[in-house]
């Protein structure tokens, strides 16, 4: 019934503007791909190696996404629906791998165990850095599932596992699908892990075409192919989400759901999260300590603090801008679902499936042509971050607003509050933690981002990621180590906030 109302024009215009902004790279790519004419495009597409490339990349997406769903959902259930030891601490710790930049994790793994390189190494690293996306969305959804249904199912004689699959997870499937989409898009666009693991996926080839070929037309054609897959993923996700409406009304205040007793299985259940944490935190931590100890850290405090300062402020500004840009579209997607808003939402996701170097080059083009005064200045960099990461914020805003009961807002309006005020005083209040969590996710992603930062950062301004790149590209690991450590420690802060919020509102109690 929410779909019946017409979306407010102002909201629609704002949302359309944001979606158009995120499609800038697409326009650039189309121009570049076609500058050599259609025969060139067709010839590139029909190359047997293009098909081989598609096959390899799809295999990576399928394996990593499946692994992330199993791991993310399984761990979410473990910490929110069972009485496993130290549930709450475990939940926060399990979100931490999200803070790990894929290039760093892959590099640390390869330096510790060189034989891990290849397809399975890429799968390992990508799964470790992206399963928390599924974990977080699932935890948030499980918190909103009305426990009354689970209680009813139990009273009708269903066992714990049957309730889990037939009642609980069914209601969380929209959130699981949303998390899986983010993972799929991330795997398509990731460069760091596949490069360090020497797995020749799409992004490696596109980077190669840019870095050593100066061949923008070929890179553009391959990027467009990649984008077709991003579009397919977005469509598949919206199908999978189906009509699962996740808003809850009635049933009083949220109550904790019944917990499954693990009993003597507690120790076994703990093995999985322990293994994940060893792979994602302990192994790279030991390798990093090894870097630090090999030659002793050379720590230039002023340079380090400068990089930290710019990283934090640029990322915070981008998080704020992305969240603001995501509000109209996120609210529309949650409250006024129709063909138009669905298309706008899907459009905003598409750029997220592109490798960041493509976004970077197209922003260079846009910058020199139209925005010359802010070219290689902070605002253009923040704009580029926004184009790159606004889908993360939109997903969070949509989920948060969807979860806030629409009836309350309707009540506020029926007693005479104007629509914007009704939204602001009722829905925004309820949705604020979810929106803030989205902002934290953007903050985190910006802190780790490298290719866009390298091409667009102001001269003389360095971030933790560019410094890390600078030193490790000349294999000066001793100088690189303090930046790697800072990136991990400070990126862990927004991650922990995210984790705390999800677990706090996710029915992960005590323990």
């Amino acid at each position: 019934m929410t779909g019946r109302r017409r979306p407010p024009a102002l909201l629609l215009i704002a949302a359309a503007a944001v979606a158009t902004g995120t499609l800038i790279p697409l326009g650039y790519l189309a121009g570049r791909a076609l500058e050599r004419g259609w025969p060139f495009v067709v010839a590139e597409l029909l190359q047997p190696r293009t098909a081989a490339l598609v096959g390899r990349s799809l295999l990576l997406v399928v394996v990593v996404t499946a692994a992330c769903v199993v791991l993310g959902v399984g761990l979410a259930v473990l910490v929110s629906r069972t009485d496993v030891t130290a549930r709450r601490a475990l939940a926060v710790a399990l979100t931490l791998p999200l803070a790990m930049p894929s290039y760093l994790l892959a590099y640390l793994w390869v330096s510790a165990y060189p034989s891990v390189a290849g397809f399975w190494g890429a799968c390992l690293v990508l799964t470790l850095v992206s399963y928390p996306l599924v974990l977080l969305t699932t935890l948030a959804a499980l918190a909103r599932v009305d426990p009354a249904q689970e209680e009813v199912a139990r009273s009708l004689g269903l066992g714990g596992i049957a309730v889990l699959f037939r009642v609980t997870l069914r209601q969380a499937r929209a959130a699981i699908a949303a998390g899986a989409l983010l993972v799929g898009l991330y795997v398509l666009s990731d460069f760091g892990a596949v490069a360090a693991m020497r797995f020749e996926a799409f992004t490696w080839v596109i980077y190669g075409a840019y870095r050593s070929g100066f061949n923008p037309a070929r890179a553009a054609v391959l990027s467009l192919v990649l984008m077709v897959f991003a579009v397919a993923l977005v469509i598949a996700e919206s199908r999978a989400r189906g009509l699962a409406a996740s808003s809850r009304i009635g049933g009083g205040s949220p109550r904790p759901a019944p917990l499954n007793r693990l009993g003597r299985w507690n120790g076994v259940a703990l093995l999985v999260p322990a293994a994940v944490l060893v792979a994602a935190v302990v192994v790279p931590g030991v390798a990093l300590t090894d870097w630090l100890l090999t030659a002793g850290p050379r720590w230039n405090a002023a340079e380090w603090l400068g990089a930290l300062g710019s990283t934090v402020w640029l990322s915070a500004a981008a998080a704020l801008t992305s969240t603001a840009a995501a509000l109209p579209l996120g609210v529309l997607a949650a409250r006024y679902r129709d063909r138009g808003t669905r298309t706008l939402e899907a459009a905003s996701y598409v750029a997220h499936g592109l490798p960041p170097i493509v976004i970077a080059i197209s922003m260079v083009s846009l910058g020199v042509l139209l925005l010359r005064p802010i070219y290689q200045r902070e605002p253009l960099l923040i704009l580029a971050y926004t184009v790159l990461f606004v889908p993360l914020a939109i997903g969070s805003v949509r989920a948060a607003v969807e979860a806030a009961p629409i009836r309350l807002e309707e009540v506020a309006r029926s007693v005479g509050r104007p629509p914007l005020q009704a939204f602001g005083t009722v829905t925004a209040r309820v949705a604020m933690p979810g929106i803030a969590a989205g902002a934290a996710l953007v903050l985190l992603s910006c802190m780790k981002e490298l290719p866009v930062t390298l091409l667009l950062h102001p001269n003389g301004t360095d971030t933790l990621a560019t410094r890390l790149w600078g030193y490790s590209s000349v294999s000066d690991y001793a100088a690189a180590a303090p930046y790697a450590a800072a990136l991990l420690v400070f990126a862990a802060v927004p991650t922990a906030v995210l984790g705390m919020w999800s677990t706090g509102s996710g029915g992960v109690r005590g323990g």
Binding site: R198, W204, R211, F214, A428, T466, G470, V474, S475
Partner: protein
């Protein structure tokens, strides 16, 4: 605590406006006569101290942008004549050639060009080489006590599965371009197919190849000569197992590529840019390259680091470095022979 979305939007708008305002403010300060913008494909650790010394010696301030040479070439070609850059300092001749081919480089001042033997600069004088690096075979003496010194020697059955290379690396691709120049398209394709049949191991970059050879993961690697010396500087000579094999005279595997510098036609400060190029072929900069980066100085009278054979002893294949910009055809050939993304 009611949070008004309108108020939030207002705050965000104000922050955005402030950002644009500050940016315009700082853009206005940038028109300064004694200042140049350098796009550097060489890392700050390598050239940062040299650039500081340039400013100290000449009074010309430098704003430097560090990234990969290929990324910067792509950025310069995308920026076209609107680029804010004065100078492009590149890690290899191919990237300079690509920018030159796009018509973006101005001629280098004659005295600067004349300081360097002409085989190390662009034939049309649009860029000048500042330091040289030789392609070598890095080997692990335990696994390969008698490494080959020609690229055809690599095709012997005993090296099957034991050679590391970096397929997307610019220096490797420059070697293949050189191979095409020396042996022709068919000859190059023939060698590449035989090389592919050796089941060589692909790595992300030269550093990874060198580390794999040093740790004994692989026996041989095709890299540039200075990667080994970098490792020796970091870990100490005793801790390093790997050794360099310089290639036999005239062998295509012994190509000498250069890092070089070009001045943009659109440079806001052309005099400053030419002064920078001149400085890099001066004695102090040349000594710096010899000592700090273990590369070959290109100017007569400056000796390379003691552990390396002198430049005059190396007899590289005769390849015009200006021809190394034809990377697209090289990539095509690599793709066809299955050595790039197949």
């Amino acid at each position: 605590m009611s949070i008004s979305i309108a108020r939030l939007a207002g705050v965000v708008g104000a922050v955005g406006a402030a950002l644009v305002f500050t940016a315009c403010g700082s853009a206005m300060q940038t028109e300064d006569a004694d200042r140049i913008v350098v796009y550097s494909g060489r890392s700050e650790a390598l050239v940062g101290p040299l650039i500081k010394q340039f400013t100290a010696d000449t009074g010309i301030a430098v704003e430097t942008r560090y990234a990969g040479s290929g990324e910067l070439a792509a950025q310069l070609v995308t920026e076209g004549d609107k680029s804010p850059a004065d100078v492009f300092l590149s890690q290899d001749a191919g990237a300079l050639g690509a920018v030159s081919k796009a018509g973006l480089l101005a001629p280098i001042d004659a005295p600067t060009l004349q300081a360097v033997p002409k085989q190390f600069s662009a034939a049309d004088g649009t860029w000048v080489g500042v330091s040289g690096r030789a392609r070598v075979l890095v080997y692990n003496p335990t696994l390969a006590p008698n490494p080959p010194d020609t690229i055809d020697g690599l095709l012997a059955p005993q090296w099957k599965g034991k050679i590391g290379f970096a397929p997307s690396n610019a220096s490797w691709q420059a070697f293949v371009t050189g191979l095409r120049v020396v042996r022709g398209e068919d000859g190059a394709a023939q060698w590449l197919r035989a090389f592919k049949a050796q089941d060589p191991q692909a790595f992300e970059n030269n550093v990874a190849v060198r580390d794999a050879v040093d740790s004994g993961q692989i026996a041989l690697g095709l890299v540039n000569h200075y990667y080994l010396y970098e490792l020796i500087h970091t870990k100490g000579a005793d801790a390093v197992t790997a050794r360099n094999m310089f290639m036999a005279p005239g062998d295509p595997g012994g190509l000498i590529n250069v890092a070089g510098v070009g001045v943009l036609k659109s440079a806001p400060n052309p005099e400053g840019a030419q002064a920078f190029a001149a400085y890099l072929v001066g004695e102090s900069a040349q000594k710096y390259f010899a000592q700090e980066t273990a590369e070959y100085p290109l100017v007569a009278g400056v000796a390379p680091s003691a552990e390396m054979p002198p430049l005059g002893d190396l007899q590289p294949p005769e390849v015009d470095l200006s021809q190394l910009d034809d990377i697209e055809a090289t990539q095509e050939l690599l793709a066809q022979t299955g050595l790039l993304t197949n």
